[in-house]
Amino acid sequence: MSPFRRAGTASGLRAEDFDEIVRQNQGRVFRFLLSLLRDPDAADTLTQECFLRAYRKRASFRGDASISTWLTRIAFNLAADHGKNRRNAFWSRLFGRSRAEDSEAAVLAVADAQPSAERALIASEQYAAVRAVVDGLPSRQKAVFLMRFVEEMSIQEIAQATGLETGTVKSHLHRALSAVRQKVNLRSTT
């Protein structure tokens, strides 16, 4: 018997539906956490933790936001907690090299999608420059940026996922885009 079916249905989110919820959202949650943390192992662990927490708190899901927004909120909070943990800094330094290799592989993957070598080079350079800017953003700003431009969430959805006011979300995005703009301008002038 599925463990999802064992826990009853007297909740905001039916336990029976959970298997399908995991299937539909695990890729998105993992990608968001990986973009945010740049650590595949941590992203995997926190993705599992995200669904575990969602299952435990399914009774509190009121349906004000979509399930994916609700899961993003849980993932965002987990990532914030993860960032607070000092021990992670140690592991980050220890495994920094493997992450750099991952990023390099990702650049190649982006470049492969381009039709010409020149475009691949541009994509690679733009990626490196903008990625550096994005990685340098404060954690909350970075999360908001990724939600908007990678997960393509609306301002309202981001506000629900982060617990911020829509005005604050816009402010974060403006600041992040301003940093990206400066970087792109610097590159075009040099």
């Binding site: 999802f4 973009s35 995997d44 599992q48 990023s103 993957a109 816009k170 885009l177 075009s188």
Partner: protein, 165 residues
């Protein structure tokens, strides 16, 4: 709008906020349009990189689901285990209390229907209940007060002896 777009206006254009003056300026200003396109291309690259980075084989997702299921199952067991323990402990405690109480056996003949009725005495729950009731009704005082009763009787007898003299 003759000046070039500032950060806020450019962000508004990137966030697809509908703004007629910004759109009008972009329609006539190649520089701003070019800059906007440059930023859009950069954002597309970041998005593509993130999507590529998140790509995993089917086996990865399957294993991840299995891990989630296993952790939820473990959580369910942890939730139900304390209840099972509590139930077992209460049964043990109940049995222990009955044993410690050490109720002395009473004669079966307490004016109840004889065994000749055809009903087994040991197996008849009504009979057991009646035996219990008879046992408690025959007892004058609760067992805990029996010593006090004895003392009271002794005192009563002593008082009786004095009055006789």
């Amino acid at each position: 709008m003759n000046e070039h777009l500032n950060d806020e206006q450019l962000s508004a254009a990137l966030l697809a906020d509908e703004d007629a003056p910004i759109a009008a300026h972009l329609a006539i200003c190649n520089e701003c349009r070019h800059e906007l396109e440059g930023i859009r291309t950069a954002l597309t690259a970041v998005c593509a990189e993130s999507l590529a980075l998140g790509e995993r084989p089917q086996g990865f997702w399957r294993e991840q689901r299995h891990a989630i299921v296993a952790r939820i199952s473990a959580g369910n067991e942890l939730e139900t285990r304390p209840l099972a323990w509590a139930a077992s402990l209460s049964i043990v405690a109940l049995v222990a209390a009955l044993l410690v109480q050490g109720v002395p056996p009473l004669p079966l003949q307490v004016g109840l229907p004889p065994a000749s009725t055809g009903v087994s005495v040991a197996a008849d729950p009504d009979h057991d209940l009646l035996v219990d009731v008879a046992r408690f009704t025959r007892r004058d005082v609760p067992r805990a007060l029996e010593p006090a009763t004895l003392i009271a009787q002794e005192l009563h007898r002593a008082a009786g002896r004095k009055s006789d003299r």
